[in-house]
């Protein structure tokens, strides 16, 4: 059935009541008119990142809220364990690209929908690609990917005479779930708290100290971690790295972990637990994904239509005990290394030039930076010099001696500009070295 002729009057009739009628609580900028639905359907282009539990829901919700132009990015393929919630996939889709199957399903199901699929990583695309979207919605399980897209959208901001050009702001709606818990946030890059401003909101990853798993294991998890970290590389049973999706690998770890557990009198090593620890499995149900994706799309709809105020700016959801929500305003950090304006210099504060380069790297991996694999290039008047880069083996080899050197030995002084690259951001970070104990001779 086409959206023309007589049928047009009944299509999206519910949305049209909201968008074509004035209401007492509407946003001041809101002017009801049929043009708003036209804008949502024809001009709005929304990017959905992730075609998993949240992504499937996001695409469906957007389509049924009048959005026609969408892109979806996902680098994953469909697995049997996705089918309990990722409702656009069927048994015979296993092994295919999530993005492609999801896009095809939506395009066939919802008349007029044009979802473009990208079986890719988000890092495969540049600024020009991301600049085309009206709104970006994330349904990811990776914090690094969230930080990357967040930094990308910030990098698209334009400042005219130190004033943010509002037209360059692409809102980011971010959803996340874990079991029966979830959260939604609305980020207006440059205007409200960004992912990087609130890194401490993410729960720290559970890690076990090596000495515990090696010499004083107490929990079944300790035994599994030991097999994963120590025994696997020592015995190298399949002559390759661990593949959590290979049942032979899981079986081997399961057996070895059971042996180790019984040696120490520890009980509770089950196959399910081994899988959980090795693959770092996060429990997931259809209901939480539905709730969080729906809240994300409601916010995207508000942003696109201005029909009412958007979430300001963080909502937590939990339905373990009843149904519970909590909303609050996460605070934007003035000195955020990602979203404070580009024209404002950013500093890295270290005590003095007796510090070793390795300590600077450690510092960048903790604190407010939380970088994953920082590479450092120093800017000198004559030319730039690479101090350390870990993820290019040949450069790592030639620069690793620098790690042991002090800043002084590397000729770094108070005020030296450093260019830092990291997997959490698409563009390098320019940062100025600042010694807090300035009495040191420089």
């Amino acid at each position: 059935m086409n959206a023309d002729g007589n049928n047009k009057t009944r299509q999206f009739i519910y949305l049209r009541k909201i968008l074509e009628r004035a209401g007492p609580f509407c946003h001041p900028d809101f002017e009801p008119s049929p043009e708003i639905l036209n804008f949502i359907s024809n001009d709005c282009k929304i990017l959905v990142i992730g075609a998993g539990g949240l992504g499937c829901e996001l695409l469906k919700n957007l389509g049924l809220m009048g959005v026609k132009n969408m892109h979806v990015i996902d680098m994953d393929t469909i697995d049997l364990s996705n089918l309990n919630r990722q409702f656009l996939f069927r048994l015979n889709d296993i092994g295919k690209s999530k993005a492609e199957v999801a896009a095809k399903f939506i395009n066939e199901k919802i008349p007029g929908c044009k979802v473009e699929a990208h079986f890719n990583k988000i890092q495969d695309f540049d600024e020009d690609f991301y600049r085309q979207f009206t709104i970006v919605i994330c349904g990811l399980d990776s914090i690094v990917a969230r930080r990357w897209i967040n930094a990308m959208l910030v990098s698209l901001l334009i400042y005219d005479d130190e004033k943010l050009n509002q037209a360059s702001v692409i809102p980011l709606v971010d959803g996340g779930t874990e079991g029966f818990k979830g959260n939604v946030r609305v980020i207006l890059p440059g205007l409200t708290a960004c992912i990087e401003c609130t890194l401490d909101l993410f729960p720290p990853q559970v890690t076990y100290p090596l000495c515990t798993i090696a010499s004083t294991p107490r929990l079944p998890e300790h035994c599994i971690e030991f097999v994963k970290i120590v025994q696997w590389s020592k015995e190298n049973p399949f002559d390759t790295i661990i593949d959590g999706d290979d049942p032979n690998h899981i079986n081997w770890i399961f057996e070895k972990a059971q042996e180790r557990a019984s040696l120490f009198g520890i009980s509770g090593v089950s196959y399910r637990l081994v899988q959980g620890v090795i693959k770092n499995i996060i429990p997931a149900v259809a209901s939480t994904n539905a709730v969080i994706a729906a809240a994300c799309v409601t916010e995207a709809f508000k942003l696109a239509s201005s029909c009412c105020a958007t979430l300001n700016n963080y909502m937590m959801f939990n339905d373990v005990d009843g149904v519970y929500t909590y909303t609050y305003e996460a605070e934007k950090k003035d000195d955020c290394i990602v979203c404070s304006p580009a024209f404002r210099p950013k500093y890295v504060d270290v005590p003095h030039d007796g510090m070793k380069l390795s300590e600077i790297i450690e510092y960048l991996s903790e604190n407010q930076y939380q970088m994953k694999n920082p590479g450092i290039v120093a800017v000198f008047p004559e030319k730039n010099r690479t101090l350390y880069i870990s993820n290019v083996p040949s450069i790592e080899k030639t620069t690793k001696d620098n790690l042991k050197k002090t800043l002084k030995e590397l000729n770094l002084i108070n005020g030296t500009k450093l260019i830092i690259t990291d997997s959490t951001r698409p563009l390098p970070l320019e940062i100025i070295l600042r010694f807090s104990e300035i009495n040191n001779e420089t």
Partner: protein
């Protein structure tokens, strides 16, 4: 190695498919789900979104009741209806598309009105695990509520309306053993240790230890030692905040010091200091549990008493005898050597087993006295019950039709909530007013574009009547009434999808008897992105 577990267990396809949810409600929760039969009344967007989140995790079967035909306005907001199906039975089409989601699930439909089904076959609803009604009229709510109240079949009524929505649960009694709280209260029995624990705790001599051993004594042992010191000094266990500060200080002073008199950073001591707050109070019986143990159903068993209450009665006997709940038998991780941890864990585990056996013996006696089969409650059931005895829950909701027909018994609660200008009770009243409006005018306020203004007055009149019945003198703000007339009966997909997810999970809680359902009304406001709960 455990001989019962196969060396390399082959996982079934089903276990693989449901892996991510089995980690939440376990294989036994899944079995309960697969035996469930859900009834949905009315194919609204909300209705199909609820079923979607029930079909995906694999409920046994569903039945859809709806006599309506698919219209174009339904199609553009509902994922489980399509353009090809306009004019066909809504129930039939939705059933077809929902079943595509999961081949494990059975589904059927009845292309008849609710009224007719009730007239022709009053016991129709008897076989359902849960009945979910969406967009019901006032008279349907009253009828369904009283039938299901008598049948003791759980009922959820819900509505998605513009940027708001609500759901209400009616259940005579619902009991939960596995409530899965985020933080379990683990009792260490340090104040009154059982003999094997006491002799273990006292087998350590902290003063004579080298640093390495000293830093690996389980914090439970440390806490116990300094608790004894405290009791010696003060003649009582620490009760006030100040007492606890003193105890923390005693522990802090017990840390080994280096040659300069500075304390070593002993993690086990840090853990003991942190545990002062929670590890000593967790031996007492939570007030919620005391209340449950004094519940009529617990105290006065009958031949028809359910297993939960028979076990509760046995638990009550145990508590009266021992002064505490059965041990849980689990130990959190702590800084210590494997040997100490495993020994300590074993001591708690053995005692937990003894406690559960004790309760099980009482259960057997009770079953014989009640002329119930002694195998109606297994030892495994009792073990689970004892393990989670500090987190047991019971929920009893009110009967919806009573509120609707009689002068509302909860009117003072509603009225007091309405006095608070920020309360979302207003939304509840408006949604009730809209039901009233619909039964009077057979359409929603503002359903037609040129009715918005006149319907504001009419809806206001409905609300005035409703508020008078409740006995509230509050007035609903004109702006809010206007806003609801603007919605004109709209059902927005993403609002319904949010509520649908919430309600599906509540249904799963009811079926599995795990996690805690809301009691008994939630209101969702999509403008503020918040949900509140009212106990009506």
């Amino acid at each position: 190695m455990d001989s019962n577990s196969p060396k390399s267990p082959e996982q079934s396809e089903k276990i693989k498919k449901y892996d991510r949810q089995l980690r939440l409600w376990g294989d036994h929760g899944q079995v309960a789900l697969e035996n469930a039969h859900i009834c949905l009344i009315n194919v609204t967007v909300l209705g199909t979104e609820i079923l979607k989140s029930l079909v995906l995790p694999g409920i046994g079967s569903f039945t859809i009741v709806d006599s309506g035909k698919v219209r174009e306005e339904d199609v553009s907001a509902n994922f489980f209806l399509d353009g090809e199906s306009i004019g066909k039975s809504k129930a039939e089409v939705a059933t077809f598309f929902l079943l595509e989601l999961n081949p494990d699930v059975h589904g059927d439909y009845i292309d008849e009105s609710l009224q007719r089904i009730i007239e022709n076959n009053p016991s129709f609803f008897n076989s359902f695990s849960v009945v979910v009604g969406t967009a019901l009229t006032e008279s349907e709510i009253i009828l369904l509520s009283s039938i299901l109240w008598d049948l003791k079949v759980p009922l959820v009524i819900c509505r998605s309306y513009g940027f708001t929505g609500m759901a209400r649960l009616q259940i005579k009694e619902h009991t939960v053993i596995e409530s899965h709280p985020d933080n379990h209260n683990i009792s260490f029995r340090l104040i009154n240790p059982f003999p094997s624990l006491k002799s273990y705790l006292e087998s350590f001599n902290l003063d004579s230890m080298e640093l390495k051993d000293h830093a690996h004594v389980p914090f439970v042992v440390i806490l116990y030692k300094y608790l004894q010191d405290f009791i010696k000094l003060h003649g009582t266990i620490p009760k006030t905040y100040k007492d606890k500060e003193i105890l923390r200080d005693l522990i802090r002073k017990g840390m080994k010091v280096d040659e300069n008199g500075l304390p070593y950073l002993e993690q086990n001591f840090e853990e003991a200091i942190k545990a002062v707050n929670y590890a000593l109070s967790s031996d007492s019986i939570p007030s919620e549990i005391s209340k449950l143990l004094n519940d009529d159903n617990c105290v006065n068993l009958t031949t028809k008493s359910k297993p939960f209450w028979v076990m509760s009665n046995a638990l009550k006997y145990f508590v009266e005898k021992e002064g505490c709940l059965p041990l849980r038998g689990t130990l959190p991780d702590m800084t210590t050597e494997t040997k100490h941890y495993v020994n300590l864990q074993q001591i708690y585990r053995v005692q937990a087993s003894k406690d559960a056996e004790d309760v099980y013996r009482t259960v057997q006696q009770l079953l014989r006295q009640l002329n119930q089969h002694t195998d109606s409650i297994s030892e495994q059931d009792v073990k689970l019950f004892c393990k989670y005895s500090s987190d047991l829950r019971i929920i009893r909701s009110s009967c919806i039709s009573q509120e609707y027909i009689d002068k509302p018994y909860n009117s003072s609660y509603i009225a007091s909530q309405l006095d608070d200008p920020d309360s979302m009770m207003e939304l509840y009243i408006i949604l009730r007013g809209i039901e009233r409006f619909y039964s009077e005018y057979k359409e929603y306020p503002g359903e037609l574009d040129d009715h918005v203004e006149p319907d504001i007055v009419k809806l206001k009149a409905c609300l005035c009547k409703l508020l008078t019945e409740i006995g509230s003198s509050t007035l609903i703000k004109d702006d809010l009434i206007h806003e609801f007339c603007r919605y004109g009966g709209s059902e927005l997909h993403s609002v319904s999808s949010f509520l649908g997810g919430c309600i599906a999970q509540e249904v799963i809680k009811l079926i599995t008897h795990q996690y805690i359902p809301f009691n008994n009304t939630i209101i969702y406001n999509a403008v503020t992105s918040s949900v509140v709960t009212f106990c009506l």
